[in-house]
Chain length 353, copies 4
Amino acid sequence: MGAPPAGTANFLFASDNTAGLAPEALAALGAANGGTVPSYGDDEWSARARDAIGRVFETEADVFFVSTGTAANALALAQACPGHQSILCHECAHIETDEAGAPESFTGGSKLVALPGPGCKLRPADLDPVWRGGRGVHAQRPGALSLTQPTEWGTLYAPDEIRALAGWARQHGLAVHLNGSRLANAAAALADRGFAPADWTWRAGIDVLCFGGTKNGLFATEAVVFFRPGLARDFASRLKRAGQLASKHRFAAAQWCGMLEGGAWLRHAAHANAMARRLADALRRLPGARLIVEPEANGVFVELPRPAVEALWARGWKFHPFIGEKGYRLMCSWATAPGDVDRFAGDAAAVLG
Amino acid sequence: MGAPPAGTANFLFASDNTAGLAPEALAALGAANGGTVPSYGDDEWSARARDAIGRVFETEADVFFVSTGTAANALALAQACPGHQSILCHECAHIETDEAGAPESFTGGSKLVALPGPGCKLRPADLDPVWRGGRGVHAQRPGALSLTQPTEWGTLYAPDEIRALAGWARQHGLAVHLNGSRLANAAAALADRGFAPADWTWRAGIDVLCFGGTKNGLFATEAVVFFRPGLARDFASRLKRAGQLASKHRFAAAQWCGMLEGGAWLRHAAHANAMARRLADALRRLPGARLIVEPEANGVFVELPRPAVEALWARGWKFHPFIGEKGYRLMCSWATAPGDVDRFAGDAAAVLG
Amino acid sequence: MGAPPAGTANFLFASDNTAGLAPEALAALGAANGGTVPSYGDDEWSARARDAIGRVFETEADVFFVSTGTAANALALAQACPGHQSILCHECAHIETDEAGAPESFTGGSKLVALPGPGCKLRPADLDPVWRGGRGVHAQRPGALSLTQPTEWGTLYAPDEIRALAGWARQHGLAVHLNGSRLANAAAALADRGFAPADWTWRAGIDVLCFGGTKNGLFATEAVVFFRPGLARDFASRLKRAGQLASKHRFAAAQWCGMLEGGAWLRHAAHANAMARRLADALRRLPGARLIVEPEANGVFVELPRPAVEALWARGWKFHPFIGEKGYRLMCSWATAPGDVDRFAGDAAAVLG
Amino acid sequence: MGAPPAGTANFLFASDNTAGLAPEALAALGAANGGTVPSYGDDEWSARARDAIGRVFETEADVFFVSTGTAANALALAQACPGHQSILCHECAHIETDEAGAPESFTGGSKLVALPGPGCKLRPADLDPVWRGGRGVHAQRPGALSLTQPTEWGTLYAPDEIRALAGWARQHGLAVHLNGSRLANAAAALADRGFAPADWTWRAGIDVLCFGGTKNGLFATEAVVFFRPGLARDFASRLKRAGQLASKHRFAAAQWCGMLEGGAWLRHAAHANAMARRLADALRRLPGARLIVEPEANGVFVELPRPAVEALWARGWKFHPFIGEKGYRLMCSWATAPGDVDRFAGDAAAVLG
């Protein structure tokens, strides 16, 4: 990843999906490319991938692979929530802001109820108001709660926080969905605090989650993982009807084998998290920059003066406004090098100086 | 591709999607894996791939990439046919028999009207009866005609045949869709007769087609190609809502560059077609085997006695019943070697002897 | 119902929905029009109507009211069959030929599998072929069987025939739906053979049925009746989301009270059936007329020479071609008088003479 | 409408749909009940009703009838807004709060974007923020603006206010829908200010509206009225597929004839509005009662102390909490008599005293 020539666009911090394939994923594609195998997931690579995901969560689970995060979330929600019920989520949730109606479409009309909460997180008290409407059959009764881990602002739910939310949901008859498009980053960060993925997923009450592959360095594969027995019933049919059953399925699966079996997924995610901290530490010292939240995963959310932003864009650094008028998002990935961070921080210092 | 050990399953002839990635596709994945680029198709690989597809068809076209053939067909049909109209297709069409309701689902209720026709092909006369119902608003008026090229039985429409069908469709106000999940095989076969892809697609009246990548040796990418100006309006939004907008889009696109820019797509398809002819020529000489249709693309459809089939299965050759009680399908791909064909034919001769 | 002036259109035999409201239904509308009552079905008229329907079937049932037969069938099927499964029906079933994709739309993509069978009826043997595909997740597995009683050709399933079909369905895991848009006519006809509605509905294995009000002389109300406990779960929400929860619900319900509580529904239906027999008996004696099936309910299906049909149309009698090129449908209703039948028969004799 | 016996439930103020049919509607049902006529709207009553609606709006329009307000709104919106676009509405709009996902379901996934605005009304400035997201294909671009007239709080948009909103919508490429479930009440109120329905509908930029029948005293019929030429294309097919094409259509239409042709619709609505003013004038004098908004149509929205509410409920008066914790809704209809208002006001004075 060379420094961008002056004025050349550099998309490194624009998103964690602008990077390429992690080396282990690419190698796995090559390794899987021998001979003929059954299509549609009935091959050994697919079985290995499902097993590897089961080991990540230390449990039996029903595992499926789809091609995008939007499909993963929308289809998981459609499975967990009937179309006449609604889905509770944070008002900044990706399913609410960036999935173009896919959840509404695949559920057959479930309304997303977008709720505010500090730090892009929800608490049980934030959910209580939805039960006060009392409009019976005329309003959609909530059928699912959707959380994001890490959140769209790069913050993390502690296992206890998830347990409290899931407990609330269970009490009210809601299924609990976790959007884990950056689940690896959460896993790496929470491992540092002594928590295994099981602790903040099924042990805390998550029924189904989407385990993101793309932002961890894979191509065209995200996993949908059902923990609650029976919840995955006929999900294969749902995938097929949604155009999400890959025929050369081994190449989706092999990438997961390459990333999970040797632990690369966690190393890459930990690296991305470290780069975000390095970037945040550099930016917090700059006059005129203000961190909106402390980074807990691989994103940095910072307020910057507009002239500084435009000066950075002019130097080729591409990144997006994300929170209100002044808040910008800088994402780190497996491919972000310390030198990239330092060059960006240097340029930021120059334009803010 | 070694010979299967006795009793070991060999999926070579089971489908043309049991093979791996074509070498050119795999190499392109590696070549594209440097640096960061914009997501969602705004990168140079994606632009190159769209251009390459335009050159295949010698015209400007609106080109999109999705992850499966089912998604390609269902979304193209949803774009071309409103949900209150029906879709005419052959009764053996993949959209009718093997897509699990995806067309009905994505169109929002279009009924597939499955019509018979010899050799898995339709003629204008086969379509006429659908206009005789006269039930007005109570029945769905046809809104689209869907053809498959090559057909599910490995036969081909001549350009004139497509022109006649599309003319009939135009006259009745129908859009015309072509399912080209094996379009490369048709292109190779029809090139031998002096026809370019343009001759039997847009020049013959096709409005939108699905250009299959998977069966040509690619992973997780099929192209939807709109020829009729304006027909693709807002299709990007439809894709996004359907969970079909890949974020690491360059890896879908790069595979197309690798296959199309150097002509590998046609070479591989021509090879697969040649292997099908080789296989057919061997089988037609065997007592007890009867070719159902002459192979024109990469599939062989043959009637075999059940004991012979079971004996072949016992030797490890996996293939599926496909037509009636006695008709079996044997597919060839870029990865089928002459020796594979000869070994299979030899085993067939042995069990039929 | 006066004789039509020469050349004036008379829609009496065109359908059994061209007649007005049965007097008992109209009177009930007036009787219910006092005071204010709760909306949406929480009123006493609605409770009485549900009770009256329970008594018709001699069982507890979950009863709902919707505004059209298309809505009744499509929503009942959507409740009984998930969108990734298919619905088996006769190829002449109204849901297949005349509901414009409503079943596909409300189920979210269920494919209707239209099967042939003599006399517009299905037998278990007609259903067997659908299990031979063996295409697994790629094809929709059947999830429901839909029967029509009386059929679209005015024929009747005997209780044993329904029992056999429902037994087959149960064995294969299918729900069983009955389209009873003319259920009253079936009830009247089968009462003559000693069968109660219960005998050929829930006792024979029907899970859910649509009890037609319109063709019995009601306005904007059809009943959906669930016999299988639990199958109606959240159906009220489905209705609301489908725009089928009437606010002035008492006026739907009151019509049922007026028709069911005093037995008018059966008397009117028996009268319509008798008129159909009278008409058939007159027509069968005419040279050039051929009954396609013996009438068992309120419809007469007859082959007539085209010139005779056009001569009848010219005399003002409106009726529709229905079966093939030469088969016409003549429907009788509560409002058809013997004199109407005799005048039509006389005109038919004149034009055929 | 007699006074309720002490402790007996009286639903008079609970909604304007708890009353029965207006006498003119009931009489029209009887008047239409002679002879046979074509089904599905091809009869003279239906033609007359469409003409009468055209005269209300002083323009040619495409007019359709459906059975509920939810169906009217959801299907009109589905016609005006493609599923990949969103619908802007007030956060208190009925389509957002009380239609159970019908708009999301019939549109195929359109997201409702619920915006705040004072007095249950929107202004162009309230809409501006929705364009600031800048998320391109990832978010749904707005495709329609939905207004309610009178609003769910009984307030009215002046013609100029609608013109400003519609102008904003036109400028941004949005269709404009008006939910007029109480359109008659708005028409009566605005007639007092010298405005005809045309002034605040199509002349102000409304493309399609729902003209409520139920709350004006009709059963099972609401009109969908398209002003923009071409916008109604194939809407009849959409209705049929949605189960909303009534077969005994004349009985829907006749009610409109009865109400519109002699002006009863406006007289009844003006009466209901006057009853709401009478009620408001009585309540505003009571200590402890606070009008939330000045009534402009037929609803009164008032804050009352909870003990007073419970005391009124105990006296049999049924009405619902509607705004926040303390705001209650009291609706008046064609059937509300001055004595009813005075009795309620008297009881309110007693319990608040």
